[in-house]
């Protein structure tokens, strides 16, 4: 377990020292969301209706920008090979990197989303559910995205490839995440959607670190 926390600490520190990389993702999130009113018009009712969808889609696209640096630097400088041959199980190493990624990308996205919610005139009663759904959803996105990043490590044009691999797989997150917020706005309880998101998170916690480990071993060969 020591190795796990050491790795989380190391990756978080590296991300914080290259703060501009993390900020870039957030800035993209804000700019992309701010483009929608220009595209569809500033009418408050329309924006309020579209706000949950816009928030989730732009958060997803912003997260896509962050995955190429998840394993790439370690792969380039040889750290990855050391991690692969280390005594710690590789799935745990992968999970540590995923946790660090969530702390430095998912969490900032989570913090930024209410601000964008205000800009898009999101229904005030739905912020609690939005944050809860976002917390679960960004964790799933980190897990699935890490799998995509590990699979496409060392390939040509890995950035575009990554989106092609990951985006279809996270469609359920988008559906239930936006659905939870929509449900609250419509006056229903969002329990079902949140429970399904939680279930998806559990399933991803089982599948993705394992898949990452297999893919990383493949990449380090």
């Amino acid at each position: 377990m020591n190795g796990f926390f050491a790795l989380v600490g190391r990756d978080t520190r590296i991300a914080l020292r290259q703060l501009s990389d993390t900020m870039m993702v957030i800035v993209f999130f804000v700019i992309a969301a701010a483009l929608f009113p220009f595209g569809v018009g500033p009418e408050p009712n329309l924006l309020a209706r579209m706000a949950p969808g816009i928030l989730w889609v732009t958060a997803l696209l912003a997260a896509m920008l962050s995955f190429d640096r998840l394993f790439q630097n370690d792969y380039d400088d040889g750290t990855l090979e050391l991690l692969v041959i280390a005594p710690q199980p590789l799935w745990m190493t992968a999970l540590a990197k995923i946790v660090a990624h969530w702390l430095t990308t998912g969490l900032p996205l989570l913090v930024a989303s209410p601000v964008i919610g205000i800009m898009l005139i999101l229904e005030p009663s739905s912020y609690g559910v939005l944050m809860l759904a976002m917390a679960l959803g960004t964790a799933i996105i980190s897990l699935v995205g890490a799998l995509g990043a590990a699979l496409s490590l060392g390939s040509r044009r890995s950035g575009v490839l990554l989106s092609l691999l990951v985006l279809p797989l996270v469609i359920p997150v988008l559906i239930f995440g936006a659905g939870a917020v929509d449900a609250v706005i419509g006056g229903f309880a969002a329990t079902q959607q949140l429970l399904i998101l939680g279930g998806l998170l559990m399933a991803c916690l089982v599948v993705c670190p394992w898949g990452c480990a297999v893919a990383l071993r493949l990449a380090a060969e």
């Binding site: 490839l161 691999l165 279809p168 359920p172 659905g179 297999v214 893919a215 493949l218």
Partner: protein, 247 residues
Amino acid sequence: MLHRFANPTRFLRLANAVLPWATSLTVILIGAGLYFAFGASPADYQQGETVRIMYVHVPSAWMAMFAYAFIAVASAVGLIWKHPVAHVCALAAAPIGACFTVICLTTGSLWGKPMWGTWWVWDARLTSVLVLFFLYLGFIALANAFDDAARGEKASAILALVGAVNLPIIKFSVDWWNTLHQPASVTKIGMPAVHSSMLIPLLLMAVGFTMLFVVLVIVRARAELADRRINALRSARIHAETAQSGA
């Protein structure tokens, strides 16, 4: 049993024996199916002649799913038993499955225009097939993204397995999303019990398409194995030549 065909030569012997039979079955079945579909089956009392699109549309939808299942099973076999021919078969099947998906989507939208009055609706089934198409694209792109072919086939095999786990979840969530966002504004035409005059050509086409899939997979796998053989021979010759000139 599986291990017998890990040897490409043995696999090729079987494939070459199967190929003529599968080819002739494909020609006969699809030929007969098309004859029944366009000539001998009645037009639908409601849909008119457009019902004939179904004879291509439904089998290709089945094949789109069957091909993905085939890829997932082949990938699992390839990963678990390190079976080289299984990977070759999975890679050979991917573009074929993607083509069936495109055929399914295209014929569906051709049928949708006169029937529903629109080329495309975000119906649960259409959306799931579209996502399936994206999964095929991801699989093909990942398999071809590496300079080292072995790396590509293993990475894409892992992706195929994850995709196969995810596919029912996507299907379920799209169904959910559809009922949530779109209260039945698009009336799906309720399939009445299919009459045998339509069922026979449909089944003929379905089996014919399956045979076509077998033929295409064999042809593509054979080409891929030949390609690898050529590469191996070429690099062996280069090694021999450099060794000679060095001495």
